[in-house]
Structures are given as C-alpha cells and as structure tokens.
C-alpha cells in the first residue's frame, strides 16, 4: 500500500503519486529488459533495479558489473568484508557516490521504472525519494530537534506551519522517538544521546517524501541497546518503506533482512533470500565469509 504523503499542490508530485499506485505487471520477458517484473515470487514488487553497475574513484574501479533488485517493503542487507564496495554501492542508489571528487558511475539503476542515472535527472530530486542515514549520527547542531526533522521540508519549499508540525510528529513517531522528545522539541539536535540522535536522523529522512530508506552501517556507532531499538524500528518501518541496510555485522543482517547481497572486491558474489544465504548459500565464497573464514 502506498505510504502516506503530505498534501501538496505540486502537480509533478501528483503525477508521481499516481504512478506508484500502478499494479505490478507480470511479464515473461528476459531479465535483460528490466520492468516492474519480479525477482522471485509473484507478489514481490521491485522498487529498485540495478543492472550492469560499474563505479570508479578516479582511476580505481570499485564496483564491477553489479546486478540485483531491491524488493518493495522488504529489508535488503548488504554484507561483505571491509572495502568490498557495499558502502559505495548503497551510495550509488541515491546518487551520493558522485558527490566525491573524481567519482564516476556507469550502468543502470531504475527506481520504479525510471532511470535515475539518466542525464536529465536531478540528483537533488532523487534524494528526496531515496533517503539515507549515515554511520555517524549527524543532527544539525544549530537546529532544534523540531527544526532538524523539519529541515528537509523547508528545503523543498513546504512552509505551511500546520503541515510541517503534523509531519514532524508523524516522522518522530515513525522513528520511535516521539515519546522521548515531544516535550523538548525546542532543544538543540545535539543534546540527545547517540542512539536518539540516530533515530532523529531517521525521522529527518522520513519527513520528506522518501519511500526508500538507505542505511549505511547505522548502528556501528551505537551501544547495543540503541542498536536493538533501531533494529526494532526497521521491523515497523518496512511496512511503509523499502529499506536497504549496509552492515558489517552478519548477525544483524540475519536478524533484520529478507534478502541479502554479499559483496567481495567490488563484485556482487551472491544475492538472494536471507535464510537461504545464511544456511545454504550457492557460492563457495559466500559460505566462507558467513562461516568466518575471512573478513
């Protein structure tokens, strides 16, 4: 079911909304022509389709011909040893990779049948739909908790005070933070604990029109209790959103995700349902990694 959207008069957004309600199509076409088809299972709707993705930092190639799909309303985990390219890969999905000087990207990433790497696509607009939370919680220190959540909306020109307030509350509830901060919304964003700050960053991402949430090792900087809270949150969030999470913690991947991607040296080694990956992986390398033989 489509996520709740704040009411907006922007016609472009209206058109986009109509598109997300279109029913999935069953096709018998070959996998080379990606469409709103499926990976495996008739009811799985593909949100993001990655095909032939290659990425570079200057001369060095860091992703080699990556292909996979992100399924809607599921959590897809990306695992692999340090330097395998999983962070690079997730940052390609919202076109953050190119913000680094000298970075390059070739291939295809389709979001709901729209090619986001096309030249006439504005990365700014892509990031509104595909949000990201980073490893280190980064609330804006000069903004209040309220303003931190509202900042995305203000950037995109939404100034209706009632709408903003309602969305802030909804986002904070969605991030399981509302009860803890509802009385201190005026305090600076930096005054929260690490785990709360990270949930604030999640709320901040939810407040704009995201329907895909990318999380790059969101719990690495958090203590175990905060980590548990965030993982709990992911269970709830996936009902409304689609989630991709990079993690170096295999147990976490096993706990939270339905599908897992295993990367090694910039190549996608294996991709599939999490329980299969962790019990009977197809690839020898996957098995080695999972059993701790390296990385």
């Amino acid at each position: 079911m489509p996520p709740e959207e704040p009411v907006s008069t922007d016609t472009m957004e209206k058109e986009a909304k109509q598109r997300t309600v279109a029913p999935p199509m069953v096709t018998a076409r070959a996998p080379q022509v990606p469409d709103q088809g499926q990976a495996g299972g008739d009811k799985d709707q593909v949100k993001i389709q990655v095909h032939g993705l290659n990425a570079w930092f200057g001369e060095k190639q860091v992703l080699h011909d990556v292909n996979f799909k992100v399924v809607e309303h599921q959590v897809t985990a990306m695992i692999g040893p340090s330097g395998c390219g999983k962070s690079t890969l997730i940052r390609c999905l919202n076109r953050m990779h190119e913000t680094v000087s000298g970075a390059e990207l070739k291939g295809s990433i389709r979001y709901e049948n729209q090619e986001i790497l096309a030249p006439d696509v504005d990365p700014v607009a892509v990031r509104r739909r595909i949000g990201m939370v980073f490893q280190k919680p980064t609330p804006f220190p000069t903004l209040t908790i309220f303003e931190n959540v509202a900042v995305g909306m203000r950037l995109h020109g939404i100034h209706d005070q009632k709408l903003v307030t309602a969305t802030v509350e909804r986002s904070l509830r969605g991030a399981a933070l509302w009860d803890e901060v509802k009385d201190v919304l005026h305090k600076p964003g930096g005054s929260l604990s690490g785990g709360q700050q990270q949930r604030l960053c999640i709320a901040r991402a939810l407040a704009i029109e995201t329907d895909v949430l990318l999380l790059d090792e969101p719990c690495s900087a958090l203590d175990p209790i905060s980590t548990a809270k965030v993982e709990e949150l992911l269970f709830e969030l996936k009902n409304k959103y689609t989630i991709v999470i990079v993690t170096h913690n295999m147990q976490q991947a096993a706990r939270v995700s339905e599908r897992t991607v295993f990367m090694l040296n910039g190549k996608l080694i294996e991709y599939g349902p999490t329980d299969k990956m962790f019990t009977a992986p197809d690839n020898r390398l996957t098995e080695d990694y999972i059993t701790g033989r390296f990385g």
Binding site: V126, R127, M132, F134, T138, F140, C201
Partner: protein, 330 residues
C-alpha cells in the same frame, strides 16, 4: 654446546644489581643541574614576553599621562588637534580609523567568506592549496607597497572612474567627489589587505566541520549551495564572527597604506569621498617631527588607545574561535 655468552652462573637473575645511588628518588632538588639551568633559561626567555607586554602597557600609559592630565576628558570627545595651541582632541582620528576599518570589513567580510567557501566547498581537492596560496601571497605584500599602489594606481582610478558614478547615489555618503585620496579608498585598500586573514580563519572553521554533515544535508535532497548553508555556514557563525573581529583588529592598526591614501586631513565628514585621517596615520606623520612634550604625549596617547582597542578585539576573537573549535570537537 651453545656459545659461551651466558653461562648458568651469570644468568640475569643472579647478576649484581647496578648501583643508582640516591638518584632513584627523583625529587626536584636532585635534578641534574644541566636540566635546571636549561629549564631556567627557556623559562626566562618565555618570561620576557609577558614582561614586554606589561612594560609596553606601562610605558604607553606613562607617556600618555601628561596628555590625559592636560586635555582631560575632552581628549576623547573633541576634534580640535592643534599642536601649536597645545589643544589635542582625537575624535577626528578615531572617526577615520573606525570608518575606514568598517569599510574594510564590509568589503573583506563577504568576499573573504565567499572565497573561503569557494576554496573549501566548491574546488577540487587538488586545486585547493594553490588557490589558498594565491590569496595568501596578498598577505606577504608589505604595507608600504600597498600604499604606493594605492596612491598611484587605486586613487587615480577611484577619482577617474568610480567617484563620478558614486556621486549619483543619494544620501550623505557620496556627496561630493574628491581627489581619490579618501576615506573610501583607504577602506578599500585595507579591505584588500585583511582579506587573507579573514579567508584563512574562515577556512580553518569550515574545514573543522566533518564531511558527514555536508553529506547528510545532500542526502536530504538539498542543492550544493543549500547543503553548504545548512551544514557549513550555520554552525560556523561564531567562527566567522571571530574571523571578522581578527580582521578588524588588523584593519585598525594598519598604518602605511592608510597614511598614503587617506588624504591626511583631520576632519569628520559623512562624505566617504572626502579626505580623512586615522589614529595610526597621525602618529606616523607627526611623531618624528613632534617637538613639544605635550605633542609627543598626545601622540603617545593615540597609541595607547590603539593598543587597548586592538588588545580587546584580539581577545574577543580568540575566545570565539576557541569556542567554535571546542564545540565542533564532539
């Protein structure tokens, strides 16, 4: 059998203990004398610094005393500067100093922040050092050369091309064109001179902000400028103010370039195109030839005022920059 380096009889455990004597107890009085001498030497050298500062404050105060006594409070509030009649009022000079420094700050402030942003945010990393270096060569250029250029290039340019345009602006600031040697020219020249200072401090402040902040802003769907505004400029406000205050401190004390382009007329006027004079410039022009003790004391008093103002500004700036650096650290 193994080599005979160590035989069982002289294994480490049974070797005779080396003798340290009484030196095992490291009390201060037992420190070797070489250390004490050295420590005394370097501490003494360091101690010269506060001594000099205190001496400066003292001597300036003493030298100014005659003037304060004879002129009284009027020294600070009157414009009349007459060495012959022994009437000294610093107001005109103070006005010139403050007004020219304000102009300098209004030019160097926005431009310095803009350049710092361009270098830290919008330039490829490999070009950053070169760009910064180019602006920093400005700071290496001696003041007297800026004055020379100001007198013979900038001032005629202002008179020929800029002033005729400015007089069209209504209001008291551009009432009448002048010779090019004016408050405005002095302000602009000093602005160019303090630009590297403002830029360098801003760069430090901007670089202290972690990349993850900028990325968070971008990830929310902001344009590059919006990300800079959110993640860099907003938290840097105290640091930028610190940079401006430091720049102001430099501007207030600038002597040679000012005295060569300001026109050297001790008159208060709102017309920025009219000649003026500054505290430092007055001292530079008059000190060598000042004959009477009263005149000398008055000039020393100007120096004393300058000393106090720049010291206060410097302290304020350091506090601000220090506060910003500490806040960002966590």
């Amino acid at each position: 059998m193994s080599s005979t380096v160590t035989t069982p009889e002289t294994s480490p455990g049974s070797a005779p203990a080396p003798s340290f004597g009484n030196n095992l107890k490291a009390s201060r009085s037992a420190l070797p004398s070489g250390d004490r001498v050295f420590e005394g030497l370097v501490a003494g050298a360091a101690g010269v610094i506060p001594l000099l500062a205190a001496a400066m404050l003292l001597l300036l105060a003493v030298a100014s005393w005659t003037c304060f006594q004879e002129q009284g409070f009027g020294f600070f509030t009157t414009q009349d500067w007459d060495p012959v009649k022994e009437h000294f009022g610093m107001l005109a000079f103070a006005y010139g100093t403050l007004a020219s420094s304000a102009i300098a700050l209004l030019t160097a402030g926005p431009i310095g922040v803009g350049i710092a942003l361009a270098i830290t945010e919008f330039t490829k990393p490999k070009y950053r050092e070169i760009a910064a270096w180019v602006v920093e060569t400005l700071s290496a250029i001696p003041s007297v050369i800026f004055g020379l250029w100001g007198m013979f290039v900038m001032a005629p340019f202002m008179r020929a091309h800029i002033e005729p345009l400015l007089v069209h602006i209504p209001g008291p600031f551009f009432r009448e064109a002048g010779t090019g040697l004016s408050l405005l020219t002095a302000g602009l020249v000093v602005g160019i001179m303090i630009l590297p200072t403002v830029m360098a401090v801003c760069r430090e402040v901007f670089n202290a902000i972690p990349i993850s902040m900028r990325e968070s802003a971008l990830a929310l769907g902001s344009t590059r400028w919006e990300a800079v505004r959110l993640a860099v400029l907003a938290p840097s406000t105290p640091g930028i103010i610190g940079a401006l205050i430091l720049g102001m401190g430099r501007a207030l004390g600038e002597t040679m370039a000012v005295t060569m382009v300001i026109g050297n007329r001790a008159e208060i006027s709102t017309n920025l195109l009219a000649p003026s004079d500054s505290l430092a410039s007055a001292i530079a022009n008059q000190f060598a030839e000042a004959a009477s003790p009263g005149h000398l004391s008055a000039l020393a008093a100007l120096g004393f005022v300058l000393f106090l103002i720049t010291m206060l500004l410097n302290m304020a700036a350091r506090l601000l920059v220090w506060a910003v650096a500490n806040r960002v650290r966590h």
